[in-house]
């Protein structure tokens, strides 16, 4: 069964790309991504000047992961050796780049093309560190800036978008005019871990890139929105931890999907396991190609205004006498859910206005929505 993907003229053997990040910051890391079966590996972001790492640079609380890594700590010359050394097999190498001016980007991009990059990804609006604000966001300069790169190189140029930039149809149009051939979305959100109340200090020293499972819903929405704004391929990223997440993005129209935090959290082997699970699922459902499912869920996504109001109310689907759980009752602002004299949870259909939160939260499916 072949689940290959065409991305801007490149044939990817599957839909899984490893995102720009420290897991692809040197030859060993890139090789491990390739060996684990990634169809393409995006390097850590390469600049004309290397950047020293701060330590600590990763922060985590509950399921929330923050990083304060911006650029690769390797020189361009070292990258040349890295790109020479790796055994690419049938994987593509995409170099993530950043510069401060049109000429800098064009130069860096052309150098990496000469070193064998199959494509480039512009790290357009990473949330960490400070940038001349004109370039990362919607501005008259952006188009020139990107066009200089696109005109100089003969390989596809992808733009990695922040949530903010992906949300702007005008910005997306500008990038299209500048000639980018695909969008990656979304980059990490700008985040802070919290504040130590006793010390009155922030828990991390600078703004971090907030990634992981919590940003996936945001990324899902951006994938669907980009599909509406633009005809260019979308490579989704943000909180993909599981093969089902990959399928969700594909069904919302993604051409391919990037893995990031999951590699940091579970190691390189997870890449193989996600690819295999996607393929198993596809095969077990009789799909012969990613095209069979790509964008399949988009048709069910409607504008809010087009949703016909239905007069549904909560009713008991089975009796519940649990005393250890009151999630439904807590969730009801209308006080429609009460406990009767027999200790049973009862929904009062005359008070209920059908928001559905009790149904969502009930662990036992004891409540459902039905016609009034």
């Amino acid at each position: 069964m072949a689940y290959d993907v065409n991305l801007s003229g490149m044939t990817l053997k599957n839909a899984i790309i490893t995102a720009a990040g420290p897991w692809a910051g040197n030859a060993e890391g890139i090789q491990r991504c390739i060996d684990a079966g990634a169809a393409a590996v995006i390097t850590e972001t390469i600049c004309l000047e290397e950047r020293q790492r701060i330590s600590p640079r990763l922060f985590m609380k509950d399921q929330q992961l923050f990083n304060t890594m911006l650029y690769s700590n390797l020189h361009l010359e070292e990258w040349e050796r890295v790109l020479d050394r790796i055994d690419r097999k049938d994987a593509k190498i995409i170099c993530s780049i950043w510069g401060t001016s049109a000429s800098e980007m064009a130069y860096l991009g052309k150098k990496l093309e000469n070193m064998g990059a199959d494509a480039l990804e512009i790290s357009l609006s990473a949330p960490i560190g400070s940038r001349n604000k004109l370039i990362g966001y919607h501005s008259p300069d952006t188009e020139d800036f990107i066009r200089a790169l696109v005109d100089t190189v003969d390989i596809p140029v992808m733009a990695k978008l922040s949530y903010e930039s992906a949300s702007s149809p005008y910005f997306i149009k500008e990038l299209e005019n500048a000639g980018v051939s695909a969008f990656s979305a979304i980059d990490a959100l700008k985040g802070l871990l919290g504040v130590d109340l006793e010390k009155k200090r922030v828990l991390m020293p600078t703004y971090g890139g907030y990634t992981g499972t919590n940003i996936r819903p945001v990324s899902l929405a951006m994938t669907a929105m980009l599909r509406q704004y633009s005809r260019l391929p979308v490579i989704s990223s943000g909180g993909v931890l599981h093969f089902e997440h990959v399928l969700e993005f594909l069904m919302l129209g993604a051409t391919a999907v990037q893995l990031a935090s999951v590699i940091q959290l579970y190691g390189y082997d997870i890449i193989y396991s996600i690819i295999a699970s996607v393929e198993n699922w596809m095969a077990s459902h009789g799909y012969k190609s990613i095209d069979d499912i790509r964008g399949a869920a988009l048709a069910s996504l409607r504008p809010f205004e087009d949703i016909v109001p239905r007069t549904l109310v909560a009713t008991n689907s089975k009796p519940c006498t649990r005393t250890d759980c009151t999630l439904c009752k807590q969730s009801c602002l209308k006080e429609a859910i009460t406990r009767n004299d027999n200790g049973e949870i009862v929904a009062d259909t005359s008070r209920c206005d059908g928001c559905g939160l009790c149904v969502e939260r009930c662990p036992d499916q004891s409540i459902r929505l039905s016609w009034r």
Partner: protein
């Protein structure tokens, strides 16, 4: 890929390819376009050709720099040296002290020592004085925004844009009388800064009184300049110093005269350095990516030497953007101790 192969592919003689490279005006437009397109197709560059014909590589490059006493030049040296080391080149070094004659002597000396290429920082040489290098087709990269001949490769920091943003910052903070101290030995950079300041003045709706003066690029230069301003009772509300050294001198003079920075005088520097953030008050300054500038210049030079220069169309410039580090010395009262524009 070699010149013979290019000639074969283009269906012309080796001499024609040579003429396209060295004396394009002697080749018919049609032929020239055709040969250039073949060269472009195979990423074959003129300098590669020159090197392969004429010279043995010495794996040495020359770096001619006005001085080694400022952080800006030190970082450039560090950048050039880093990339040269990565590519296994040695760096021969010459300090020109901004004297064209000294620089010309160094150029001769470097050519005699068979360097593979030269990086000139803020060169003072004119077109005639570089003729020998041009004739030898010696790979060259200029650091600084002064093009001697059209085929030169330039790398520079966009000081003009940085100075514009710095001036805009001062105007936004409400300063109405602004003065700039320029480096008397570096007219090129001063001109760019002046152009940027002027743009900011033009763009604002406020009436700003602007003046400028020349001073030595040193602590002493900044000290004396501010003393002079105090004595002549012509202190501005905001002073832009050419460098951190000048700014430190200005700070000292202000302190001696009980002039409070930033309450009585806003002070900013056109170059940032490690000390700017530890001064009190911390100095608002323009961070120039000087190490990256040195790295970029060395890369572009080695590109030429080794024939890996990405573009066939010459000339080309590489422009780096500076970053305004907004600290406390101009009256910024934001809680975040340092932010950027």
């Amino acid at each position: 890929m070699n010149i013979k192969r290019i000639a074969e592919l283009a269906g012309v003689s080796v001499a024609t390819v040579s003429r396209v490279v060295n004396h394009p005006e002697r080749v018919r437009d049609e032929t020239r376009e055709h040969v250039l397109s073949v060269m472009q197709q195979y990423n074959f560059t003129p300098n590669w050709f020159a090197r392969s014909l004429n010279l043995e590589s010495s794996n040495t490059i020359a770096l001619l720099i006005p001085g080694i006493e400022t952080d800006f030049f030190q970082q450039i040296i560090s950048g050039v040296e880093t990339v040269a080391g990565n590519k296994e080149y040695a760096v021969l070094f010459g300090q020109t002290n901004n004297y064209p004659t000294r620089e010309a002597e160094f150029v001769d000396m470097m050519i005699n020592r068979k360097v593979d290429g030269i990086i000139q920082v803020n060169s003072r040489l004119n077109g005639e004085e570089t003729l020998l290098m041009q004739n030898l087709e010696l790979p060259r990269v200029h650091i600084g925004k002064n093009r001697v001949c059209t085929s030169d490769t330039l790398c520079y920091v966009d000081i003009e844009e940085g100075a514009r943003r710095m001036t805009r910052h001062l105007i936004e903070l409400g300063h109405k009388i602004i003065m700039a101290l320029f480096d008397e030995a570096n007219s090129n950079t001063s001109e760019q800064a002046f152009a940027g300041i002027n743009r900011a003045l033009r763009d604002t709706g406020h009436t700003i009184i602007f003046s400028s003066a020349q001073a030595e690029n040193s602590v002493r230069g900044g000290y004396l300049a501010v003393q002079r301003l105090i004595q002549s009772k012509s202190m501005p509300e905001a002073l832009i110093a050419a460098s951190d050294l000048q700014a430190i001198g200005a700070m000292k003079a202000a302190r001696d005269a009980h002039i409070n920075i930033p309450d009585d005088l806003a002070l900013a520097s056109l170059t940032d350095s490690a000390v700017c953030s530890v001064l009190s008050p911390a100095l608002t300054a323009l961070e120039l990516p000087s190490k990256r500038l040195g790295m970029a210049a060395a890369r572009m030079l080695i590109d030429q030497i080794e024939g890996t220069l990405p573009y066939v169309d010459m000339p080309h410039d590489l422009i780096l953007q500076p970053k305004l580090k907004i600290r406390e010395s101009c009256g910024n009262t934001q809680d975040i101790y340092e932010w950027f524009d």
